[in-house]
Symmetry: C2
Subunit: 273 residues, 2 copies
């Protein structure tokens, strides 16, 4: 049974229902202690206004989503991605977020060169890490499910993310998202290897069948992921931080009243994680 | 440029257009040298009739799809899967197929225990391998993309399949399907490791965006997989057998005239593989 003091809800879970201001109000009203924030929602609200509302509510920011998307065909676009990531680092520092979620990016437009894309990711991370270190913002590489390798993220296993961490040194770790890693035959060893470098733990569930590659994630308990086993593994690796619920669900949870979604997250968090 | 003498078309590519008898006629009319056969189509045609038509056409059978689906909650259902796989082995022997494709199966109904499912797969394979060896039918474990881990196949990387081969000994190898393995950061090393054990090489393409997890595969050249690089890697590992085109495509290729699909497969095989 997960400790409710560690619950955070990523605002993507109610992104169709709530602005950031509304999410802050709705989560804190139901005594959810943490929130994961998306930058589009943050920028719509304004950073100063968001900070004021977060301070008033007492909500802790478990993560800011996201920096990254490094691979591009031109140097100009790669530079723009670095500039954008540096802004994300500043925003994460201002919000006192536990980490900046790094979604690395997939193939550059028009390319089939996955190895080249991965090299661009490594170079991009190396370029922004000094800024992250200076700002005191831990960067959490989030390996994404292999079905996103082409268009979102060419870092697709925890081991691959840890190899990057090994190469890059201080200030970078990993976010372990159940949805992305649950299938990995080397998962248990990879989580043990990640000890001391786990910056976030995200939960939802894998539905059978899954009807959309991106927007059909399930509520904890409605799918097939053994979340308690994953929770134990992450805990055994020393992670004691927030556990973030992040559900993209056009056909179900995004259509329900926000308060019902939050209440269900709280209930399932304790029952199924 | 792929050698057209190595082309095989898996009949799933025109499964909405053709019975097995029709596929044999249509492929051989266009001088396609090989065919991959599915058991539902085979049983509809009848084994003796299929053999007669294959002999008349000169088409070689590159694979029979499929045996496997080993994990089940009850011993009775697991035994039924073994019995069925032994029938598949006999059919593959009768057809002189180059291999029997083994799709391992996912989680048993109601289970979240992926490690247990993988153990059932190993036990199932160990149980049927003596039959396959006796029949002279090579068994090709086909790792499926991680997005199928829950419902189709809990063997999700080439390395994982090769670990199974190492454990099981003679008579078993792997099928390398571009669609399933292209994303793997350890792919190049895994293909080299597979040298001497590659029993099949399947091609199609990964579309961006992909609109369905199962039935939205692309024609070679329409997606993002670097097929020539994969072809070189498989060749460097010593594979000289048939290269099978296998495309499941409800929205596109399954709606076109069969002859057009075959002609396109031939053209793209030479231009894009």
């Amino acid at each position: 049974m997960a400790d409710r003091n560690r619950l955070s809800i990523n605002q993507a879970t109610t992104r169709q229902q709530h602005t950031l201001a509304e999410a802050i109000a709705a989560y804190s009203t139901q005594d959810v202690p943490g929130i994961g924030i998306w930058r589009d929602k943050l920028e719509e609200c304004g950073l100063a206004e968001a900070k004021r509302r977060l301070d008033d509510s007492g909500l802790k920011v478990s993560s800011l989503c996201r920096g990254g998307m490094f691979p591009h065909p031109t140097a100009g676009k790669r530079q723009a991605a670095l500039d954008d990531c540096r802004i994300a680092i500043e925003q994460a520092a201002e919000l006192d977020a536990d980490c900046l979620i790094l979604v690395a990016g997939g193939l550059p437009a028009g390319s089939k060169d996955l190895i080249g894309a991965r090299q661009m990711i490594r170079e991009g991370l190396a370029a922004v890490l000094p800024n992250a270190r200076a700002a005191g913002v831990p960067v959490a590489i989030e390996p994404l499910h292999p079905m996103y390798a082409a268009d979102r993220c060419a870092i697709n296993t925890l081991d691959q993310a840890l190899d990057l961490c090994d190469a890059l040194g201080e200030g970078v770790g990993v976010a372990v998202d159940a949805y992305h890693v649950w299938w990995d035959p080397k998962l248990e060893a990879a989580i043990a290897r990640a000890a001391g470098r786990i910056l976030g733990f995200h939960v939802c569930d894998w539905l059978v069948p899954t009807t959309d590659l991106l927007l059909d994630r399930g509520m904890m308990g409605d799918g097939v992921i053994d979340l308690p086993a994953l929770h134990r593994a992450v805990s055994a690796a020393g992670y004691v931080g927030p556990i973030e619920v992040e559900i993209f669900s056009t056909a179900n949870w995004w259509r329900r009243p926000g308060d019902e979604v939050i209440a269900t997250c709280k209930e399932r968090f304790q029952a199924c994680v």
